[in-house]
Symmetry: none
Subunit: 401 residues, 2 copies
């Protein structure tokens, strides 16, 4: 029996409210052995208080040693088996800009790049153009027509855009055309099967025309495409958990992930304080609130240890505003670790706390990697977190007599 | 390969003896954050000594966050995957009163209830009648005849009884007729498929006649039925483990569960000291002894924290009598937690100890939730406990060359 069916069978509506606060890339590493991680370094009186009053542990996003991208990291937190639900980059990007992907669609992430006269890539991000220029270039790409397929082009930001190919029998087994190298031309698209080969042929025609349409637009004079993906079949959180779920996220990717599992994606402004304002405004309308905080990840990716510390402290300061709403269950976690030392996502388990009336308190009084290691939740699979959320919220009945 | 096949392949007969002492609902919660649980509060010198000499941990009955009923809780402890073996309430009740359920039977739990002149339920438990009255009412129900099916009615206690419908092609996909609400009539039975619809029609005829037979018997003037269930296919512990297994339990439900997995259910009297007498008497005849202690659960369900503490202390006092028999392996655990604070079963992991000659001792010297969190078994799935029992008993050979 799968876990979602079990939840559907056991779920109850207790009227309680759950806040899932995801500090992206929360976990870290000390710069030197024996040193402190970013989280251990930060001043975090409010997070520590939640840890003390609740129960803590370390979540393993996929498997020990597996470093997840944002997609699997978040799907696991939402309770979806990340190895089962594989979401292509193109879908995430499309969902993140509110593009309604349908069953005949293959979505792809596009990058503007710079090519020389021989068509070889000299800058994979086209010098990071302004978003205004991205919009203008997308308007040019929209003039492209390829017989047999409908093509949608939507700007994202800077060098990034989304292309959706809509047609019959399109597969998504198509390679990235970005060669991930300089001084070589974009790769031709090839399909891994007949349906994907159909897509690849449309793609190659599109890219050839893009080169013409953009030829006088250096540095944004060519495109690469990656993350070909069809819309996956995935049950909504409403369907699985019976929760009216709201996403309060600033960045498109996380809005897209939330929309994928059927959350209402709310206008969250552009900062954590905007997000809290939104949270307060919609508090009565929803049961479950996914708050996404990006900056713990981006500072980690930048390798900026003190900035990540500062972003954690800023998050800590927002905790009392959340608690003032009197949630029944608060979870603070990350979708993965992003140690500044590594300047990348990592596999290290993620500090996690559950604050709720019926949490079995442990001896942990600090919200840090080392303290969570001694916490009552132990080390657990991230995909089980929603079970714990539902249980602590009084939303799961007894299994069996 | 499933675990039972693995055990069948590796098992050896070492002649050693295993005692599985299940303190029902053992785990608890502090009444206030930072306080002590029932187990932490109790005086438990003998349990502490076993914890000190053995190894400890926290067992997770089904999944994190899942609150098990007694059925799945015990099946997991006996080493049966609780999501795979789903045992209906009717079967448990029937087994618990020594009714031999056969392959043509559908067993159901019945409740006497009180209905008003319009047939609407005014008391779902008929004012909790005496067991004597329950017996008398069951005799009345036995007069009911429904053509095409054989019907057995057996009293359990107070308002509870068992009905078994015996016939050809009877399904158990039938809804509970208890509406779980007052001032509405019992629900009609409906079948989810053709075989179950056959059952449902017999059920509705039975209930209609019950109303007539009991019409002058208020407050026990109607019945509701729930937990329709056929006998599940399940391998015996003898078959899986090669153990001669004995159950020494006082309450019907636990006798029923033990009988389901093929244990010999012994006459265990009505108290823990009776149970110990039985244990001593049959010590030479069996390899495995399941001792069930109910009162840690019932006091928890009552929300009586000090009474649960006292029941733990009483259990502790019985430990030396068990140890005097020189068992090779002693396991103390629960089938789930029942915190007095919640007055119900809960999902919290269950303190567990294994005492055996070859246990790898940990630093734990107390048998409490917080100490077990630091124990050598870590947090583990309850269904793996029997593997550990067999291993510590020298009853599992090496896997692979």
């Amino acid at each position: 029996m799968n876990i979602h069916d079990l939840i559907r069978e056991l779920r109850e509506d207790s009227g309680s409210k759950i806040v899932l606060l995801v500090a992206d890339g929360l976990g870290g590493l000390p710069l030197e052995p024996g040193g402190k991680t970013e989280l251990e370094t930060a001043r975090r009186p409010h997070l520590d208080r939640l840890a003390q009053e609740g129960t803590t542990g370390l979540s393993i996003p996929v498997f020990p040693g597996i470093t997840p991208g944002s997609g699997p990291g978040h799907l696991a937190l939402f309770g979806y088996e990340p190895l089962h639900y594989r979401i292509g980059r193109g879908i995430l990007e499309a969902l993140g800009i509110n593009f309604e992907v349908g069953p005949r669609d293959v979505a792809v992430r596009g990058n503007f790049c710079t090519v020389d006269a021989a068509g070889r890539i000299t800058d994979r991000r086209a010098g990071r153009p302004t978003t205004e220029r991205c919009v203008a270039m997308c308007h040019k790409l929209r003039t492209i027509q390829v017989p047999g397929v409908e093509i949608f082009v939507e700007p994202v930001r800077e060098h990034r855009f989304v292309v959706v190919f809509r047609g019959d029998d399109l597969g998504d087994g198509v390679n990235d055309t970005d060669p991930q190298a300089l001084n070589v031309p974009p790769l031709p698209a090839k399909g891994a099967d007949a349906a994907s080969q159909r897509t690849a042929e449309f793609v190659n025609l599109f890219v050839a025309q893009a080169a013409k349409v953009l030829q006088d637009e250096a540095p944004t004079n060519q495109v690469t495409l990656r993350g070909f993906a069809r819309h996956p079949k995935i049950a909504s959180m409403q369907d699985v958990y019976g929760l009216r779920a709201a996403a309060i996220a600033v960045y498109p990717m996380y809005k897209g992930l939330a929309r994928l599992v059927g959350m209402d994606v709310l206008d969250a402004g552009s900062s954590l304080s905007d997000q809290i304002v939104t949270l307060r405004k919609v508090w009565d309308k929803y049961d479950f609130f996914f708050l996404h905080y990006k900056y713990t990840d981006s500072t980690g990716e930048d390798g900026n240890f003190p900035a990540k510390v500062q972003m954690i402290e800023r998050l800590d300061e927002a905790v009392p505003e959340i608690m003032a709403l009197k949630p029944d269950v608060v979870i603070v976690t990350g979708d993965h670790s992003t140690p500044s030392k590594m300047k990348s996502h990592s596999w290290h388990p993620v500090p996690t706390l559950i604050w709720a009336k019926n949490a079995r308190t442990d001896a942990v009084t600090e919200f840090t990697e080392s303290a969570c290691l001694r916490g009552g939740l132990g080390q657990f699979q991230a995909m089980h977190l929603m079970l714990l959320a539902m249980a602590h919220a009084g939303r799961l009945g007894k299994f069996g007599a």
